[in-house]
């Protein structure tokens, strides 16, 4: 047998995890069945680990969310159509504010609702930016700013 010839020359046949086999160590240990079982376990473990790799959640943000904003051109109706109802409104709706989160994977912005926390005060946990839109008396965007509110 080739195996015997090798043994006689003092060389060990190379088998993965061969050191665990009883036949190779001349004592009690795993047999060939155990080797197969061990290989199976490794395979199952590998499959299980592959199963743990989750697909990333879908992107929340849109990099072009604010691209439509143009001072002197965008109207209040355009802004509300694109962004929905603002989270804040001041000076008889001349100033509108929106809360935005940032998706770092694509540098995209997404809208965040204003909500009160346990403290009774609004929390900025989900929102990083405040978008401020200032309109003139005819409802045309006069200026806007994107303020980083939270680190």
């Amino acid at each position: 047998m080739p195996g015997e010839a090798c043994d006689r020359s003092g060389e060990r046949p190379h088998r993965p995890f061969g050191h665990l086999l009883a036949s190779d160590r001349g004592g009690a240990g795993f047999g060939t069945g155990a080797y197969r079982m061990f290989s199976l376990l490794v395979l199952v473990g590998f499959v299980a680990l592959v199963g743990c790799a989750t697909t990333p959640p879908p992107l929340k943000g849109r990099p072009d969310l604010l691209a439509f904003l143009s001072d002197g051109q965008t109207t209040k109706t355009d802004a509300i159509s694109a962004l929905g109802q603002p989270s804040g409104s001041f000076e008889s709706q001349r100033i509108l504010t929106y809360r935005l989160g940032l998706e770092p994977r694509n540098n995209g912005y997404y809208l965040v609702e204003r909500e009160a926390g346990i403290s009774g005060w609004p929390t900025w946990r989900g929102a990083k930016f405040s978008l401020v839109l200032v309109f003139d008396d005819s409802g045309v965007l006069r200026k806007h700013s994107l303020v980083k509110v939270n680190e």
């Binding site: 409104s89 000076e91 504010t97 926390g117 346990i118 403290s119 900025w124 401020v132 200032v134 939270n150």
Partner: protein, 287 residues
């Protein structure tokens, strides 16, 4: 040029530190305090004690402030006060219970809140700024409950708060609104949680403003008493719900909770129920 400065309230500051010191001293045995100075993550981080230095009284407008700092955290009804809040985690505390049979402990967080309030005149010009602080020590990592409205008055012009031109007669600031829920009779009613907010009654209507609403906006719910056909209080174990039926077939429930507690405020429930009953009677009798 007159520059505006927020004068630190040294006395309040000393009192706050003293209180904190006493709290720390009280739990010296078996209490571990880990000092920190980080943003809590719940509040904004773009304001600090130097923020007001960016604005010039009489020259800076409300628009300038909002453009610079973003959406405020609170606004008075007349928009003459804007409030911005920051929150720091100043320490973690760990209390190890000792003694015979003991083996547990507790831990939590100490927060410090800073409120920056900017005052404006009737034309929207910045006038002055002030800073107030509030400390909170809680178990766990949830933020503390912050009670103080930071404004001088609910309407900073000193007038009583109005809803649609009517003064508020009765109100409760710790209320929950469950729209479309018939007390405890609706399906899964026991497990439903309402929207937190402020319940207010005028001579002619019931109004509810959610906690996330700005004070300068209209309440999300307004029910004229004339449209109410039935009002009652539902009971379930320790729970109480004020139930309002309207002629249109809609139904609303409200949970009115003690300001400092978790249980229903029974006297307030009853007072509000009685108030609504007394105002709907003439219409109800006609129907």
């Amino acid at each position: 040029m007159k520059t505006n400065t927020i004068k630190p309230r040294r006395i309040c500051s000393l009192c706050g530190r003293l209180a904190l010191g006493l709290a720390l001293a009280g739990c010296l045995t078996g209490c571990l305090i880990i000092p920190l100075n980080t943003n809590s993550g719940y509040a904004r981080t773009n304001v600090d004690r130097h923020t007001n230095e960016r604005f010039v009284p009489g020259r800076t407008t409300r628009e300038d402030v909002i453009i610079a700092l973003g959406e405020p955290d609170a606004v008075s009804r007349d928009e003459r006060e804007l409030a911005y809040r920051s929150e720091k985690t100043v320490a973690l505390w760990l209390l190890v219970a000792g003694g015979e049979g003991a083996g547990g402990g507790a831990g939590g967080t100490i927060y410090k809140n800073n409120f920056y309030v900017l005052d404006f005149d009737a034309q929207g010009w910045f006038q002055a700024a002030r800073r107030t602080k509030q400390w909170g020590m809680v178990q766990g990592t949830d933020p503390p409950s912050l009670a103080s409205p930071v404004f001088k008055a609910r309407d900073s012009n000193g007038a009583p708060e109005m809803i649609a031109g009517e003064p508020i007669r009765l109100e409760h600031s710790r209320s929950f609104w469950l729209g479309g829920v018939d007390g405890y009779r609706s399906k899964n009613a026991y497990t439903l949680v309402g929207r937190p907010g402020h319940l207010a009654l005028t001579e002619s209507s019931l109004a509810f403003a959610t906690a996330s609403q700005f004070a300068n906006s209209e309440p999300v719910l307004r029910i004229p008493f004339a449209s109410i056909t039935d009002v009652r209080i539902d009971k379930h174990l320790l729970g109480r719900r004020l139930v309002v039926h309207c002629g249109s077939g809609s139904v609303h429930s409200f949970e009115i909770i003690k300001i400092h507690g978790l249980t229903p405020d029974k006297p307030a429930n009853q007072a509000i129920c009685d108030f609504i009953s007394s105002r709907m009677r003439p219409t109800g009798a006609g129907e």
